[in-house]
């Protein structure tokens, strides 16, 4: 028996979350602002009008500031895999390694090559080649995100692999099913669109500041035109892929869906909660009311419809997932206790397999391997002790999800109004809208962070869904060392963020330059 300090697991998780969240401050703006500047340069290429070149160069400078501050911040996550999550790192083997290696190659060669042409090549290369370089920088950044998100999606929905007990690794047997898994595709699109929304919001918000100050009016109006149209398109796309996310979560991670909606008791024809205040005394095994106050979305049975494409489908609640349930199509989903027993069988079979192998008894090893394979999809349940271990933090996920959706709706409204008033040529006089757009920039960052909270806290306790919980994945290192590096990262990233904000604000104060 190993004594594992619970605070080690929590600090390791906290350190990873801190790093990932800081990294995610920089990435979405790169993805979104990249598209904005590339669209503007495309307009310049088509019209030849210098004001579009001037606008492109201004947003490109801010893109450069953000890119320089954010570059390589994600590498720290890879350091942590090797140090703090070594069991996990070994266990996932080439499945996680291959996408990350491809990401590294793409990020380095594509972005590094074309970003220098983008910044240095204005007077050195043709307009067409420069425009192509700008789009290739954006494409490179987006493809980098693809590989990271493929790896993340695999953790949420492991597929295309087979566990090899001789190497203790999950080995890739189908690269395409990992790359093209519906969860990966949807996650990639939803995440990239969230970056687009932030980029659009940043463009509209900063441009609104110029209008409030009555500076650079023509530039600001042009930028708002691009930003608001792009924002509306990105918002519609994010709603569409959000629907896809809900569907996949319902199929692959029903506990996450139940927690997102605060659904303890399953229902046929379940509604979606618009807003609610959770009862802090509610537990899965008591009869307390779930909500102190609750308001449903006024479209009945929407959760069943979105989750299962059937308005009358049964949506399991937290209690059902613990106790086992039967889906509308007759599929029986086993209880926590059954899956725990199955997981324990799998782990014991692994142990016996190793012993039989060491003893040179191949036929006995083969018998244990059959048991291991038959129960492998519940392997991680063998590490959980009680039903509560299976339930993520309900208030955190519930509120994060609902605030994220509410903010998304607010942004769509801001983009639509900005577009409308720009079209009516009345935008400059709408001070309330300009201030709302400006003050919404930090809310854009908040929304993208909340999205990750839903995705990652909502899948606890798993590092790999159903296969490996966090307490089995973490390395046996001292909690003190994790705490030390947590605060080192906090200091480093906070310094970077302050530097980014200061340099950005200086550039914005300066405004677009004439070249």
């Amino acid at each position: 028996m190993e004594l594992l300090d619970a605070s080690l697991v929590n600090w390791s998780r906290g350190q990873f979350a801190l790093t990932a969240m800081y990294h995610w401050i920089f990435v979405p703006l790169t993805l979104g602002l990249g598209i904005v500047m590339a669209i503007m340069e495309s307009v310049y290429y088509k019209t030849g009008k210098e004001e579009w070149k001037r606008a492109t160069k201004f947003w490109m400078t801010l893109f450069g500031v953000n890119f320089a501050m954010g570059v390589a911040t994600g590498i720290i996550l890879e350091f942590q895999f090797g140090t703090n999550w070594s069991n996990y790192s070994w266990f996932v083997g080439d499945i996680f390694g291959a996408p990350l290696a491809i990401e590294g190659m793409l990020a380095f060669f594509m972005e590094a090559t074309f970003i220098s042409i983008m910044f240095f090549g204005w007077k050195k290369v043709s307009k067409g080649f420069h425009l192509a370089s700008t789009w290739l920088v954006v494409l490179g950044a987006t493809l980098s995100a693809l590989w990271i998100l493929v790896a993340n999606a695999w953790m949420q929905y492991p597929t295309g692999m087979e566990f090899n007990p001789d190497t203790t690794r999950n080995e890739m047997i189908d690269f395409w099913s990992i790359l093209l898994s519906p969860v990966a595709i949807n996650k990639f699109l939803h995440t990239v669109y969230s970056g687009w929304v932030l980029g659009a919001l940043f463009t509209v918000g900063v441009s609104s500041w110029y209008l409030i100050r009555k500076r650079e009016v023509d530039f600001a109006l042009k930028s708002i035109k691009i930003g608001s149209i792009f924002g509306v398109v990105a918002s519609i796309l994010i709603i569409a892929t959000g629907d896809g996310s809900a569907y996949h979560v319902a199929q692959k991670q029903p506990m996450k869906l139940a927690v997102m909606e605060g659904l303890y008791e399953g229902e046929e024809g379940a509604n979606i909660v618009a807003m609610g205040l959770l009862n802090p005394d509610k537990r899965y095994d008591n009869d307390e009311e779930t909500f102190i106050v609750k308001m449903d979305v006024p479209v009945p049975k929407l959760l069943s419809l979105l989750g299962y494409r059937d308005a009358d489908a049964f949506v399991p609640g937290i209690k059902d997932i613990i106790n086992g349930y039967t889906l509308s199509d007759g599929t029986v989903v086993p209880s926590f206790a059954d899956r725990q027993a199955s997981g324990t069988l799998a782990i014991n079979a692994l142990k016996e397999y190793k012993l039989a192998k060491e003893a040179g008894n191949d036929s006995l090893a083969a018998e244990h391997l059959v048991v291991l394979r038959a129960n492998y999809n519940n392997f991680g349940y063998g590490y959980l002790e009680k039903p509560e271990d299976l339930i993520p933090n309900v208030p955190l996920v519930f509120y994060a999800f609902h605030f994220m959706v509410a903010l998304g709706m607010l942004f769509l409204l801001i983009f639509s109004l900005a577009w409308f008033f720009h079209w009516k040529k009345k935008l400059e006089s709408q001070k309330w809208l300009l201030w709302t757009a400006l003050l919404s920039i930090p809310l854009g960052y908040l929304a993208t962070q909340l999205g990750w909270v839903v995705a990652e806290v909502g899948r606890q306790p798993w590092t790999i869904q159903d296969i490996l919980p966090v307490q089995a994945a973490v390395s046996s290192v001292s909690t003190g060392s994790v705490q030390l590096t947590f605060f080192l990262f906090l200091a480093l990233f906070t310094a970077l963020l302050i530097a980014e904000i200061r340099i950005m604000m200086k550039q914005i104060q300066k405004g677009p330059e004439d070249h």
């Binding site: 028996m1 004594l3 594992l4 300090d5 320089a68 069991n87 240095f120 050195k124 307490q471 089995a472």
Partner: protein, 76 residues
């Protein structure tokens, strides 16, 4: 060809304004990450402590088996 490339970068870097500050910050950041954090705080546990993949595999499998029979304690 190489001369043109060299001049392209040389001119590009020398004409930078805010870019010089950004490069300086990026280089300091990379030094802190790779020269300090990676070296002193983030050794690869399995590569550092075990000589070959077989030993690494044995270690991980032992951890996976032991932790199923674990007791999580809170030392705080």
């Amino acid at each position: 060809m190489f001369k043109k490339l060299y001049l392209f970068y040389k001119e590009g870097f020398s004409n930078m304004t805010v870019g010089k500050t950004l490069w300086m910050i990026a280089l300091i950041k990379l030094f802190i990450m790779f020269g300090i954090l990676k070296v002193f705080f983030f050794p690869n546990q399995l590569k550092t402590n075990y000589d070959n993949d077989r030993d690494r595999s044995e270690h991980v499998i032992k951890q996976l088996i032991d932790r199923s029979d674990k007791e999580i304690v809170n030392q705080n």
